[in-house]
């Protein structure tokens, strides 16, 4: 299976701040990839660079076989939905459908109309007067009408109530079922329960760097929580990669990336959930940042 997205050491700097550093990820075609990380970790930057709305400072990105570029053929194959749901507030949904028809070669207007009718969203009402959930559905329908091969969604459900969120995700999964494996999605979100149902691939950013990237099933199989009495963690650290460690007076709980089978009988190995995995890597980055801050404080 070819890769829908392949980046190599993609970086973006703004004067003295680095928004994204050495990002190297691969997203195979047909996957729904969860883009996860704390705010400011570079998720929006990455998505905008993949959509061609921003250009990298260094590194390369290959999207659907080529560089993101201002070229009608490329633009026709991608769909981008920013967090603020950018639509023309004074225009109606029907206006947007006509705009799309004029500006895109393959445009499925009936798809939008049918979907919005199913959701009982009026076509002749100004988009600015619709609710947040309705606006998000309109924007998603318009994006899908292009029949893109790649969807880049930047926290589209962040401001929606649970029902609106569920409807949005159902629309998304229906579109995937219709596309029969030709649609790749990168979805950035904080809501891990949503991501668990819908996503099969994970990209985790923290501190503007990629922490882990891969199929969720594989990642979960590669990680375990080792619970055992508090003792020297040296052997464990040599055999595996410790991502996150919590020690009390009596007990150690270590989330590790397996480097081989777990041989120490003192440790009980438990499966890891997606939420635990994400929190561990995000927490590890925070701990490293704190250590760095403290070290800097000691030097000065």
């Amino acid at each position: 299976m070819s890769a829908a997205i392949e980046t190599r050491e993609l970086s973006k700097r703004y004067r003295r701040v680095s928004a994204l550093t050495d990002c190297t990820v691969t997203v195979p075609e047909g996957r729904v990839s969860a883009l996860v990380g704390p705010n400011g970790a570079g998720k929006t930057t990455l998505l905008r660079m993949l959509a061609g709305l921003a250009s990298p400072t260094s590194g390369t990105a290959s999207v659907l076989g080529g560089m993101p570029r201002q070229d009608p053929a490329f633009l026709a194959e991608i769909g981008y939905l920013a967090q603020e749901i950018p639509l023309y507030r004074r225009f109606t949904a029907e206006d947007h459908i006509r705009i799309g028809a004029h500006l895109n070669p393959h445009w499925d207007a009936s798809l939008v109309r049918t979907r919005l009718k199913e959701l009982r969203i009026p076509l002749d009402q100004r988009v600015g007067t619709l609710s947040g959930g309705q606006r998000a559905q309109v924007a998603l329908a318009l994006t899908l009408a292009k029949r893109p091969r790649l969807l880049l969604l930047d926290e589209p459900v962040a401001a929606l109530d649970p029902l609106a969120r569920r409807n949005f995700l159902a629309t998304l999964t229906s579109a995937m079922a219709d596309a029969e494996g030709t649609l790749t999605v990168v979805l950035s979100s904080h809501l891990i329960t949503d991501l668990e149902r819908v996503c099969d691939h994970l990209i985790l950013l923290a501190g503007s760097r990629v922490q882990i990237c891969g199929d969720i099933d594989m990642l979960l199989a590669e990680h375990k929580v080792l619970i055992g009495p508090r003792k020297d963690t040296g052997p464990v650290e040599r055999a595996h990669t410790v991502v996150h460690a919590v020690t009390t007076a009596r007990q150690s709980t270590l989330l590790v990336r397996l480097g081989g089978p777990v041989t120490d009988p003192a440790y009980q190995a438990e499966d890891v959930s997606l939420e635990e995995l994400v929190l561990a890597y995000m927490g590890a980055d925070e701990a490293n940042a704190d250590k760095h801050l403290m070290a800097v404080g000691e030097d000065s």
């Binding site: 009608p72 603020e84 292009k146």
Partner: protein
Amino acid sequence: MTWLVWRQYRVQAAIAFALLAAVAAVIIADGIQIASHWHSTIAACAGNSTCLLQASPLVNGVVSDLPYLSMIVPVVLGLLWGAPLVAHELEARTSDFAWTQSVTRMRWLTAKAGALLLVAAACGGVTAALITWWSGPINAKFASAFTPGQFDTQGIVPIGYALFAMALGIAAGTAARRTLPATAVVLGGFIGLRLVISNFLRPHYMAAITTYYHVTGSFTPPGQAWILAQGGLSPTGRVVAEGWGDLYPALPAVCRSLLPGSPTSKSGSSESAVFSCMQAHGWRGFATYQPSSRYWPFQGIETGIYILLAAVLIAATFAVIRRRDA
């Protein structure tokens, strides 16, 4: 793309068209009245030039300011339509939508800026035509179409101003990414540049002609010339502009005493006596002017300058939009 531009601007276009039509109606109605007044004045004076000059004013009140009001048109275009063109899309983030449809940013900008520049040129042309026609009798009476003020509102230069103001608005909006600072730039930049060009550049588009004449006589360049400077030239090369205040200290003492009302005046003094004295002492009169034959070349040069500036601004806008992050 053209459908999108029309859909985005159709309300504003309707309002602008209505306003333009209303203003045109006022100008036309007033112009007809002025023209008929002028024709009856000509008939009454039957070729006597002094009679013509002393006839009652052709225009008075607010209406006489119509040409000056028409100078606002380019600024308004640049402020209301030019500045928000790119800036508003960036502020509202609708650029994220527009620039991920299957049109390149270049095509998007070409359609939007192209439409607006066309409209600017049209507005400039229509107001210029109307004001030129309206000013016909005034130009004839005062032979003044070349003077600053009249020059700016007639002919083809208003088209250049309108294009420049629109381009300035679009460029400022693109650079600032926000409408409000862009409007400030349009206001300041347009007014500043207009003042600089008309006061410091325009007199020098072509080398002016200087004619010398007898101080005792007078000289008026024929037709609608633009007089840049006129006055007296002493034998030593000292220039004195018209007006007794500057002239008095420069005169030789003997001529000064001939001025009526001066402490040392004697009988038989008069203005003409002073001039004869000056003439005898080697004074000459001079007039530096641009002849009326240069009216259209100057119109062309100035319009060309503003169109060139507009082109540079638009080219810069294209370059910025193509390369910059959205």
